[in-house]
């Protein structure tokens, strides 16, 4: 049965001519793996916008990486018709990114909605990330519809987690809907609840047009596709629009709605959600959070909340094959079109050659960019250990901003400040001790602790960002058997006793291995790194000292003993081909060596030494 029974009803919800009373804008807040995409798929089917034949799993996650990792990076909006008691409604589902690095994008998606479906796995309960987004939604005064998903699972405990959700949002456990995105159970009830509980949008249709950009995506064929929520007035095809943050004007080449394929429309009215195409080629010209208005009759007040994306984590990316440098530059230029937060500049490393220092929103952002570079552009890359930005003040008063350990000044340092985060950790109560141990080891200070239920605890910490970008997530997961979750937000900075530890091979500093660490951990880092390198660097024909140093002071040392014999004694019997092929193989291997002074270091040694499990400073 089609969701909309009559053509007359259907006519009332055409884009550009739907009254706000018939619109419902909502998003789904959920943790990775809690089944958001699968639920969205069921909604697309039930509302008839996607037929069975063209349904593919997780329809809305467009990028391969998203589908493979089961996470959503870029949000989208889909318009779906739904009928309740003879009345037709247009539902706009605004997808939200589900990771800590994209909190700002989430906040813009939430700002485009009047309601949120709080989707929680009925076998796992709420996670820290979801909790953070829930708070964000509550601050935005969104109507919250608590929903437990995966009730078909044998391990589901809907009673228990309904209780937990009720405590969190202050309702009754019975109000919590129960669905299975997999089987479709309860999804129709949920769609009805959205119509009933999410308030219709409110705006002034006669005011100058104002629409908020909540997503901006580069498409090879169409250029930048900008997703907006109209707050006041109306946007129409072919008119000139203006971006309030930059005052740049563009012509609207196309305007429409997604359901979920793009459908051009006669415009978008108050409360409506859709897309704009202006022909710009770079998402930086159409930034998330910006306000779009009509150029001829512009609004003067922006919608507020706009913020430039700030890279918080930096890492050097280098091609393993130096001749791939131009290809890496081209690839970054392409990625940048679709990633307003990506910032990079060329960098040279003695050890790694030519590469780029890249600023990321966070670790996941780093991983995604790196993976896309490797996968979509076929590049083999080495990334240096990620670091945060430090502000260093010298005794003579000069100030230095350090985005790369090699920029850390020599001389008398007065203070070093580092960014800190407010972190929220959710875990079963049995892991409280473990988590405290981990957080204290990372210089965390406990701010508070609350029991969500008898079994689950929320811990709040102030932690240096630099301490959690190495392997904090991995450690947290492995020490709590995967049960703990983490969310954090940047929360200013603090002074800290930080030093730069350099690694020297045969007296030559290897810039790629320098790290800025707390003084109390410098020795441990030095011992760990020199020990690791001793294992990774093959013996040379001379002795190679590996040292860790703070300035001129050596704090740790290992020695690679000289290799005394490399020759194959047996070279007779006429099988010269084999020996020659061995030589050819050695020569191939040599090409992948980097020379530090006279020491030949295999690429694999850099990769292994820089991989996160070795940089934890344990």
């Amino acid at each position: 049965m089609p969701p909309i029974a009559t053509p007359a009803a259907s006519a009332l919800i055409q884009p550009a001519s739907t009254t706000p009373e018939l619109l419902r804008n909502f998003c789904i807040i959920a943790h990775i793996d809690h089944g958001k995409s699968t639920l969205a798929d069921r909604m697309l089917q039930l509302t008839g916008v996607v037929d069975e034949r063209s349904m593919r799993a997780q329809y809305l996650d467009r990028m391969d990486i998203e589908r493979e990792r089961g996470i959503t990076i870029k949000s989208q909006a889909v318009r779906m018709p739904w009928q309740v008691d003879e009345a037709a409604y247009a539902l706009n589902m605004i997808d939200t990114p589900g990771h800590v690095d994209f909190t700002y994008e989430v906040s813009r998606s939430l700002a485009a909605c009047e309601g949120a479906v709080l989707l929680v796995d009925a076998a796992q309960g709420i996670e820290a990330q979801t909790l953070a987004n829930l708070y964000l939604a509550m601050e935005n005064d969104l109507a919250i519809i608590p929903v437990l998903n995966k009730i078909d699972l044998p391990a589901a405990q809907p009673e228990r987690f309904a209780e937990e959700l009720a405590t969190l949002i202050g309702g009754e456990p019975e109000d919590c809907l129960r669905v299975s995105g997999k089987t479709g159970v309860g999804v129709e009830v949920l769609l009805d609840a959205i119509v009933a509980q999410v308030p219709p949008p409110v705006g002034d249709p006669d005011a100058p047009a104002r629409a908020m950009i909540f997503d901006s995506v580069y498409d090879t064929y169409r250029g930048v596709v900008t997703y907006v929520r109209v707050v006041d007035g109306q946007l129409s095809p072919r008119e000139k629009i203006r971006m309030l943050s930059t005052n740049a004007t563009h012509e609207l080449l196309e305007i429409g709605v997604s359901s979920p394929e793009p459908h051009p429309t006669q415009g978008l009215g108050v409360g409506e959600v859709g897309y704009l195409i202006t022909g710009v080629k770079d998402v930086r010209q159409s930034r998330v959070g910006d306000t779009v208005t009509n150029a001829a009759k512009p609004a003067t007040e922006s919608l507020g909340g706009y913020r430039d994306p700030q890279p918080m984590v930096y890492s050097g990316l280098y091609p393993i094959d130096g001749s791939d440098y131009p290809a890496l530059r081209d690839a970054l230029d392409k990625l940048k079109l679709n990633d307003a937060a990506l910032a990079y500049e060329p960098e040279t490393s003695v050890a790694l050659g030519f590469g780029f220092r890249i600023g990321f929103l966070g670790l996941l952002h780093l991983e995604i960019v790196r993976e896309r570079l490797e996968r979509e552009f076929n590049l083999d890359l080495i990334s240096t250990a990620p670091n945060v930005i430090y502000e260093v003040t010298m005794e003579d008063g000069t100030e230095v901003t350090v985005r790369n350990p090699s920029e850390f000044p020599t001389g008398k340092v007065k203070t070093v400040t580092e960014p800190i985060v407010k972190a929220t950790l959710l875990a079963p109560s049995e892991f409280v001790g473990t988590i405290m141990e981990l957080a204290q080891g990372r210089r965390g200070t406990l701010q508070g602790m609350d029991y969500l239920s008898e079994e689950r605890v929320e811990l709040r910490y102030i932690l240096p960002l630099g301490e959690i970008i190495f392997d904090f997530f991995d450690q947290l997961k492995s020490r709590t058997r995967g049960y703990a979750s983490l969310n954090y937000e940047i929360s200013g900075e603090q002074d800290a006793d930080l030093v730069k530890v350099d690694i020297l091979l045969q007296g030559e500093q290897v810039d790629a291995f320098s790290a800025i660490v707390h003084r109390d951990k410098a020795y441990a880092y030095g011992v760990m790194m020199t020990g690791k390198l001793k294992e990774l660097i093959p013996r040379q024909q001379f002795e190679v000292p590996i040292q860790a140093a703070i300035g001129a002071r050596i704090i740790a040392r290992e020695t690679i003993r000289a290799m005394r014999k490399d020759v194959l004694a047996k070279c007779y019997g006429g099988d010269i081909s084999r020996k020659r092929k061995l030589l050819e193989k050695q020569k191939e291997g040599k090409k992948r060596m980097k020379n530090i002074g006279r020491v030949e270091v295999p690429q694999e040694a850099f990769v292994a030494a820089l991989s996160s499990d070795t940089t934890s400073g344990k």
């Binding site: 024909q541 005394r564 490399d566 020759v567 004694a569 019997g573 006429g574 081909s577 030589l583």
Partner: protein, 405 residues
Amino acid sequence: MSARSTLPGSAPLASTLPASVVDGASERDFGVYLHVPFCSVRCGYCDFNTYTSTELGGGASQANYAATAIGEIELAAAAMAEVGLPRRPVSTVFLGGGTPTLLPAADLASLLDAVGQAWGLAGDVEVTTEANPDSVTAADLVRLAGAGFTRVSFGMQSAVPSVLHTLERTHDPRRIPDVVAWARDAGLHVSLDLIYGTPGETLDHWRTSLDAVLGLEPDHVSAYALTVEPGTKMGAQVRRGLLPMPDPDDEATKYEIAAAALAGAGYDWYEISNFARTTADRCRHNLGYWGSQDWWGVGPGAHSHIGGHRWWNVKHPRPYAERIDGGRLPVAESETLTDRQREDERVLLGVRLVDGLDVGADLRGRLPTLVGDGLIEAEPAATGRAVLTLRGRLLADTVVGALTD
């Protein structure tokens, strides 16, 4: 890249050798290697192509093997003539294995005869056979000398019973002085092979073996570091942790001990692992390998080289014999070397020799660093020759790496 081809069995003989092999042939020596793929027991460390069964069937059985190999000699001579190679008398013949002396001395003699008939033997021909100390008698050695053999190389490996046990060598070390005396009495030059670096071998064990060798006053000594090959029984023992992997530092120490002991007793190194009393005592056959001369390798799995063309025979004696019986050369695969590959081989083989390597003008700039690192001798380097120092002999791969691109 080398041009590679698996030769179809039905191809005419001439197609087995490219015309390029003729270039400069008259300036190159021609040797013959004869492989005898039989042993009474297979040693744990050995990765040579050898079989312990006497009855592999047909022309592959031990009894018929000489006749089969003679078949290849005849096919070889025909193929070389067909491609237009000049007839060159054979300057060296080497019987290796396996254990050549498992075959009756008469068979070994008939193999040598066949070589003489196919190509003729040079007046100063060097004819060597490898011999296992426990499968050879005084009478055999006399017979071999009478048939034209000039040299015998005994696989002594060690004078220490526990080391021989680990190597799974079955001979009684007390037999060595006898076989050496018999060989000398028969008028044969004597070479002794030693292996160092066997798991469990101490430095004193190694000195004992060297002393034993020097006491026997052979003409020639080879000292090879034990190489553990993946496919061998010893390889499996090392992988499973039953035996320790030979330690390269220990092997280096033992090489230095050997080099000093041998030099002190008047044996000069002429190749990394080979030592001789006089220039005349050097093994000219092996020098042919290191000098990229021409040789035909007869027998299953044997490798051959003529003028930049290399090939190797099928490994198992049965298909080998079937091919010969069918009148076809038993080639498994071949490659024609590019100029670059020939240069690589010239470097990696030539640098092993006491006379050293002529370094091309383009790479001479690298010699001072090698001298500075103590890898090559300063004086010859001044005129563009790379001659390895003692340290350089142990780090020859580093030197080869520096002298190739």
